[in-house]
C-alpha cells in the first residue's frame, strides 16, 4: 500500500467513526466536538486531493466559525438532556433501517456504473490552488460572488431580527 492509500483509509475511517459518534452521543457538546473531528478529516481529504483552498476554507468556516456558533448556542440554552430518555426505540430502528436501505440502493445502483474505471487525481494537479480558483472567482464568477455578499447581509439582518427580543 502506498502512502496515499494509507492516508486515504485512515482519513476515511476517522471521518466515518466521528460521524457515527456525532449521531450517537447523548451530550450535544460531544456531538459538536466529534463534528469538528469529522470536518478536520474531510479537510484532510481535500489536502489529499490537492484542493488546498477548500481545505483551508473548510477549516476556517466550518470547524472555526460555524462550530463556535453551535457551541455558543448550546451553552446559552443548556440543552444537555434530550427530554425523557431520548428517542423511542422503534423510531431509532426505523430510521436506521431506512438509512441502510437508502445506502444499499445507491451502492447497488452505482457500483457497476461507468465510473468504475475512472480515477481522481490525488496529490497533484493545479486546479485546487488559490491562484486558479481566485482567477475564476473574480472573472467568470464575479456576479455570483457579489450576490453571495448580499446573501450574507440579508442572513445577518435576518438573524438579528429573529433573535431580537420583542
Amino acid at each position: 500500500m502506498s502512502i496515499v492509500q494509507i492516508l486515504f483509509w485512515v482519513l476515511a475511517a476517522m471521518a466515518l467513526f466521528s460521524a457515527l459518534m456525532v449521531i450517537t452521543s447523548k451530550n450535544p457538546v460531544y456531538s459538536v466536538l466529534w463534528l469538528i473531528v469529522t470536518f478536520f478529516a474531510i479537510s484532510g481529504h481535500y489536502i489529499l486531493l490537492n484542493a488546498q483552498f477548500l481545505a483551508v476554507v473548510n477549516i476556517i468556516v466550518y470547524a472555526g466559525a460555524i462550530m463556535v456558533l453551535f457551541l455558543f448556542v448550546i451553552m446559552l440554552m443548556n440543552a444537555r438532556q434530550e427530554g425523557a430518555g431520548g428517542s423511542k426505540r422503534w423510531i431509532t430502528l426505523a430510521g436506521t433501517v431506512s438509512g441502510g436501505i437508502f445506502l444499499l440502493v445507491l451502492v447497488a445502483a452505482l457500483k457497476d456504473s461507468e465510473l468504475k474505471t475512472r480515477t481522481a487525481m490525488v496529490m497533484d494537479g493545479q486546479v485546487g490552488l488559490i491562484k486558479v480558483l481566485g482567477n475564476e472567482l473574480f472573472t467568470r464568477y464575479v456576479v455570483p460572488f457579489e450576490i453571495s455578499s448580499i446573501l450574507f447581509l440579508s442572513a445577518m439582518v435576518g438573524a438579528v431580527v429573529i433573535g431580537k427580543k420583542e
Partner: protein
C-alpha cells in the same frame, strides 16, 4: 485513487447524516447532521472535479481549466451553509425562548 472509493465514502457520510436527522429529536443535533450531509456532498464534488481534471490532462489539454467549476460550487455551498446556520440557529434560539426546549416534538403544534 479510484473515484468509487470517494463515491462510497460520501454516500456513507450522507447516510449517517440522514439517519441522524431521522432518529434524533434534539433540533441542534438535527441541524449538525444537515451540515454533515452538506459536507459529504462537498467531498464528492471535489473528487469529481479532480476526476474531470485528470481526464482533461490525459486528453492532452495542458493548462486546462476543467474541474474548476466543481470546486467553486463547493465554495458557494459553504457560503450558503454559513448563512443558513446563522439564520437557523437564530430560529432555534427563538424556539427555545418560547417553549424552553429544543425537542422537535414540541413543534407539533404547527399541525393544528
Amino acid at each position: 485513487m479510484p473515484i468509487n472509493y470517494y463515491l462510497f465514502l460520501s454516500l456513507a457520510l450522507f447516510t449517517i447524516g440522514m439517519v441522524g436527522v431521522l432518529t434524533r429529536r434534539n433540533a441542534i443535533i438535527i441541524f449538525m447532521c444537515i451540515e454533515l450531509m452538506l459536507n459529504a456532498v462537498n467531498l464528492l464534488l471535489v473528487a469529481f472535479s479532480k476526476m474531470h481534471y485528470q481526464a482533461a490532462l490525459e486528453a492532452g489539454q495542458l493548462a486546462t481549466q476543467a474541474g474548476v467549476e466543481g470546486q467553486l460550487f463547493v465554495f458557494f455551498i459553504m457560503v450558503v451553509a454559513a448563512a443558513e446556520v446563522s439564520v437557523g440557529l437564530a430560529i432555534i434560539v427563538m424556539m427555545y425562548r418560547n417553549v424552553h426546549s429544543v425537542d422537535i416534538n414540541f413543534l407539533n403544534r404547527l399541525k393544528h
